[in-house]
């Protein structure tokens, strides 16, 4: 279809104005609504997430694995999926070494090898994150080999660990600070709550195709 390409680009070029188009500058946006300090960032992040029925808990570097275990038990999670080589793996393995549910399941093999188990035999997944965005209540994920894409998508509950120090005021700030423009992973995500739809009567209902519950644990 390279002919199609040449014809489409040819038509666009023929139509483009003869003079070089002036580059229209993008007006800068006022940062008025953006929270100023750490506590404000966390508060905005939390309020935005809770407004869309996400659960937000604040914990610390030592306490979060126990909190995850307790929350998972309260939800009756029997099998918790995690990234076998991910940044949370060691802490999770230590915490879940004792008896009792939930059992930790590593996402160790390519999806083709265990798709049925992932779709029908996992109750929850847990991932790390690259931080959050305060003004929209979004969590930033770059899934990859250590924590694959479907880990945060197929299980009905998604636990996610967010470092409070990695909260950004806005998406624009996060993109700049994390230098997205210089190289993107195969998949990057913003997740802002549990799956939802307003397609029937414009009324929001939660839990359609993605996780029904989104549990955010902020490590402060």
């Amino acid at each position: 279809m390279s002919d199609a390409r040449a014809r489409i680009l040819g038509r666009l070029r023929a139509a483009a104005p003869a003079t070089t188009p002036t580059v229209v500058p993008t007006p800068s946006l006022s940062p008025a609504a953006i929270p100023a300090n750490h506590a404000d960032l966390l508060q905005s992040f939390r309020e935005r997430l809770e407004a869309v029925r996400a659960e937000v808990h604040v914990s610390d570097a030592e306490g979060w694995p126990a909190l995850v275990q307790r929350l998972a038990r309260e939800r009756g999670v029997a099998r918790l999926l995690f990234g076998a080589d991910g940044p949370l793996a060691d802490a999770l393995r230590r915490q879940f070494a004792d008896d009792g549910p939930p059992a930790l399941v590593p996402y160790a093999d390519p999806i083709e090898a265990w798709k049925e188990e992932l779709f029908y035999g996992i109750d929850a997944g847990i991932t790390s994150s690259l931080g959050g965005i305060a003004d929209t209540g979004s969590v930033i994920l770059w899934p990859g080999p250590a924590e694959p894409r479907l880990l945060s998508l197929v299980p009905p509950v998604h636990f996610v660990i967010v470092e409070a120090e990695q909260l950004h005021a806005s998406l624009a700030d996060a993109l700049a600070a994390q230098r997205w423009a210089e190289g993107m992973p195969t998949n990057a995500l913003l997740i802002s709550g549990p799956s939802k739809s307003a397609d029937i009567e414009q009324t929001i209902a939660y839990g359609v195709h993605g996780p029904k519950a989104f549990v955010v644990i902020v490590v402060n």
Partner: protein, 471 residues
């Protein structure tokens, strides 16, 4: 396509369907309110619109160059880029990819470009089952309808109609009337399809030239599943979707979700920049991007209509259109309804076929007031109306198709009389004196309106009587 009677017939049916009208009006007033609440600071909104307009203007001005950059960066990332001049070409490209993989079905995230292509029909004809997974699209696919709104395709249906539809088509399951229960029904029906699908399809909200990235915005997770669980992901997008830089995305995203549904952000914003790498455990093995022209380069060649290519498909123009709110999308008989459809569709298909659609507008200007990228929709609709009656051969395809000799003559006489005071005085004197002879009915006009009748005294006479003396 739409002969006058077809459009008229559809409008008549839409106006006669009280249940659908109530569903649509309730939803649209709700969306208007949600948008208003999402932009509490009017000055901030205008700054954001300045940014949105500027970003899209910059992208459209450099469209050919950015498309080349996009292709180069996608290729570097391992995304295969295809170019389609027409909907038929795009369908052929998608079918070829699916056949190469022996796909029996295609699970779809929501895509208006796939509607524009008529992809589902082509797939079915080729023996490949299209499966819509967006809840609204799923509902209308089950019901055998087309979308009535670009972001809320089943907005014309109530929960009870949806429940009845599910009970009829999926009788082995229990379906509640509550909305959350209906979402649960769709979840369990479609989970099997996500699990087993051979290939997935999505649209694209933005294509980032700088990084070779497809940006997808959605709430349900079906878009992520469609693009992640199957082995092949095909994205279909209009060529106008390209933006220059990653830094252009945040302001556009902010405008898009807030203008569309009043949400600060959608549940998922998905940045796809390539297929699964060797060390990754999931994700599609192939990602294809089909860039569709389908008349867009013709719009590009027209300095006025080019402005419509800034559209980010938020749907705010239809949510606020007094005509759309009363009719819903089906009455338009086009893929894109509402003010933006009133521009895009006749300009693409030709005024000989869709010229009448340009009259389905009051030109009130609500659409351009809310448009996040400031497309001057009433001016463009007005421009198309002019093209439809002009006789100089200029303008979009099918120009002059709605020109009537009688109407043209009436306007020429009107212009003649109004430019000559003596003739004007003679005309008003005649009209006021002989007012009893004025027709009581004017075909097509007086069916739904009072017939205008000349007054007993002309305005000039009345003002002179009151002592105004301009001359």
């Amino acid at each position: 396509m739409a002969t006058p009677s077809e459009l008229g017939g559809r409008i008549g049916r839409a106006l006669g369907n009280a249940a659908a009208r109530a569903n649509i009006a309730r939803a649209m007033y709700g969306l208007q309110k949600k948008r208003l609440l999402a932009f509490p600071d009017a000055a901030e909104l205008e700054r954001l619109r300045d940014a949105g307009e500027a970003i899209k203007r910059r992208a459209i001005a450099r469209l050919p160059e950015l498309l080349e950059t996009l292709q180069a960066n996608c290729a570097r990332n391992g995304i295969q880029v295809h170019w389609a001049e027409t909907a038929a070409d795009a369908n052929r490209i998608v079918l070829d990819i699916l056949r190469q993989h022996g796909a029996r079905d295609l699970i779809k995230g929501k895509s208006m470009v796939s509607e524009e292509m008529g992809l589902n029909g082509e797939l079915s004809a080729a023996g490949i089952e299209p499966v819509e997974s967006d809840l609204g699209e799923f509902i209308i696919q089950v019901g055998g309808e087309g979308p009535s709104h670009i972001i809320a395709p089943a907005v014309h249906k109530s929960r009870f109609e949806v429940a009845a539809l599910f009970r009829e088509h999926f009788p082995d399951m229990a379906h509640g009337d509550e909305i959350e229960a209906l979402c649960g029904s769709a979840r369990s029906i479609l989970r099997r399809r996500f699990f087993a699908a051979d290939a997935g399809l999505s649209g694209a909200n933005f294509l980032v030239a700088e990084t070779g990235t497809i940006v997808l915005v959605e709430n349900e997770g079906n878009g992520r599943l469609s693009t992640t669980a199957p082995g092949v992901h095909i994205a279909v997008a209009g060529i106008e979707k390209v933006v220059e830089r990653m830094a252009d995305v945040p302001p556009l995203l902010r405008l898009l979700t807030r203008s569309a549904t009043g949400q600060p952000v959608t549940t998922y914003v998905n940045f796809v920049s390539g297929p699964r790498k060797a060390d990754e455990k999931d994700g599609p093995h192939e990602v294809h991007l089909v860039l569709l022209d389908n008349g867009r380069s013709r719009l590009y060649a027209d300095p006025e209509l080019r402005e419509s290519l800034r559209c980010i498909r938020c749907g705010a123009c239809m949510n606020h259109c007094p005509v759309y709110v009363r009719l819903g999308g089906h009455a338009y008989g086009t893929v894109y309804p509402g003010p933006i459809g009133t521009v895009l569709e006749p300009a693409r298909v030709g005024l000989d076929r869709l010229g009448e659609l340009t009259e389905a507008s009051t030109l009130c200007g609500a659409c351009s007031e809310v448009c996040p990228v400031r497309i001057p929709l009433p001016s463009l609709i007005h421009r198309l109306r002019h093209d439809a009656v002009r006789c100089d051969g200029a303008g979009v395809a099918g120009n002059g198709a709605r020109r009537s000799k009688v109407e043209a003559l009436v306007w020429r006489a009107w212009a003649f009389v109004h430019a000559r005071p003596a003739w004007y005085r003679l005309w008003t004197a005649t009209a006021t004196r002989l007012r009893v002879l004025a027709p009581r009915r004017i075909a097509g006009w007086s069916d739904a309106r009072e017939t205008p009748r000349p007054a007993a005294r002309s305005l000039h006479a009345l003002t002179r009587e009151r002592g105004y003396d301009h001359e």
